[in-house]
């Protein structure tokens, strides 16, 4: 199954900003970051369809995964 993934800030470097990621048996954001070679410590905010998600939350068909490194401001 393919999932849409959106990356932000420094995570875009050498990876791009939006992509489809093909997952095998494990449908989780952890499998996404493994495949994109993103270190877990660089994942500060994880959203699934714009809502708070966890690395091990089970994805379902059509889910969009958004991953942010540590950022902030205001």
């Amino acid at each position: 199954m393919e999932f849409k993934v959106r990356l932000f800030a420094t995570l875009r470097k050498d990876r791009g900003r939006e992509m489809m990621v093909e997952l095998g048996e494990e449908w989780t954001a952890r499998a996404v970051i493994d495949q994109l070679k993103i270190d877990e410590k660089d994942v500060a905010i994880l959203m699934i369809n714009g809502r708070d998600g966890l690395l091990d939350t089970k994805l379902i068909e059509g889910d969009i995964v958004s991953i942010f490194p540590p950022v902030g401001g205001g």
Partner: protein, 596 residues
Amino acid sequence: MYGYQGKVLRIDLSKGVSKVEDLNLEEAKKFIGGRGLGTKLFVDEVSPSVDALSPENKILFATGPLTGTPTPTGGRYMVVTKSPLTGTIASSNSGGYWGAELKFSGYDVIIVEGRSEKPVYVMIEDDQVEIRDAAHVWGKVVSETTETLLKEVPEKSRVLTIGPAGEKLSNMAAVMNDVSRAAGRSGVGAVMGSKNLKAITVRGTNKVAIANEEALKAVVKDCNAKIRENGVTGQGLPTYGTAVLVNIINEGGVFPTNNFQLSQFSEAEDTSGELLAEKYLTKKDPCYRCPIACGRYCKVDDIEGGGPEYETIWAFGGDCGVSDMPSIIKSNFWCNEYGLDTISTGATIAAAMELYQKGFIKDEDLDGLSLDFGDSDAVVEWTKRIGQRAGFGDKMAEGSYRLADSYGVPELSMSVKKQELPAYDPRAIQGQGLQYATSNRGGCHVRGYLISPEILGLPEKLDRFTIEGKAAWVKIFQDFTAFIDSSGLCLFTSFAMGAGDYAAMTNAVIGTEWTADDVLLAGERIWNLERVFNLDAGVDPSQDTLPKRLLEDPIAEGPSKGNVARLSELLPEYYELRGWSTDGIPTQERKGLLKI
């Protein structure tokens, strides 16, 4: 005396004289400095019922005990006065270099009172204070005023000034320093304008005495390491500035769009921090002794200057339906030149756009200029007209509440206590909604930045849609922030540092033995002092609320769909935690406990 210079400079513009008074050190320690001490000095001298733009109002420029010390970001000052926009206490904070220079000139606080008959500026060089004619810079924009004054004041002086917006008494006029740093909110620039005070230049050669140099060295080293190692202050803010928030806040469906009619902007990526860094950033623009350096300096066409910040990008971008970054940079530039608060200016244009969309504002009012959402060129032009108070811009310069109210629909102003809300839809972040409603200066995110736990996960991640425990988080964030705002440090340090760190730095500088609890208690004292002033000024607890839309109309689409701000469930718990009566009044017992 350590940490404080021990002197207050009082300038009476009506009489054209100045004098130096001793700082009451006991009181200074009780209210810390900056926002807290400034408010204490203000409320002791000024009636809460004062007309904000009358000579009887006063305006204070207050440093903190850490201003001008080697502490990280130790260069902040606070402008304290009664706000013409909200009728509440106003305290607007700014960075840059002016605050530290004021401290070096030998004063902790400047109190300006009365009203000059003609435009003047104040030149300060250590103990030399002169009130000088300002006719030649009156009417001039901020950069030109700064350049002109720098040629006629002592070398290495720093310039604080208002632009034409402050002179013309706009409710959204800022006080500017170092050209592009702003004490932006609550119309403090108009109070300077009402006194015919164009600028204050400072130059100083005094040091700030430190109680325990060795201890300070150790704690500064420790805090700098924390700032460096923290992902937000060590990587995110230095690389992208605050603008990096555009995509995060939008991705979660928290990004107010078209005057809060939507909560997600389909073109946000075109206004992102990533794009700003890639295409428009020319350099970083750090403040005094800041290891974070979030300040940006951007260029587009023939325009180059400080900013834009996240809130500014939102106000002139998504809130107005605009996805054109060059025009956002231009609007920001003109705000700095005219001396305007970018949040209130952009949000007022957005409110005017909705008033036009709904047929309240007519074409014949607009001198041929569009008020359609998404018209980026028109937004830049409206910004200038607000700064000049030209045509319909004159009416907009009063702020969105008064504008919408003049058409009988004040609910279309997205404001609290008449001050425009910033860039987070409170329907999608329950703690922030309570914070907006109870902020002592009206619609504001930096009286308690609940975005930190509710979105960014700092210091821990909270579910942004729930209300459980949020009242307690709001109280702690508000109290903690009140201390930081009083210390002379930048609020952004709190992404990396806790109350114990601020206590340790303050202890090393002024020789106290405060704990983290003392930090929060001082913050609570300051919060209540502001609250009591507001109540006495007639801003009653019925104004602890949010615009009707945010309380009643669920978000229509996007990740936060279906939510409203659940304020009525949160407010009673918040009052109780504050030790106030059920109708929001600080009790005698609480005031006694806090010694106010």
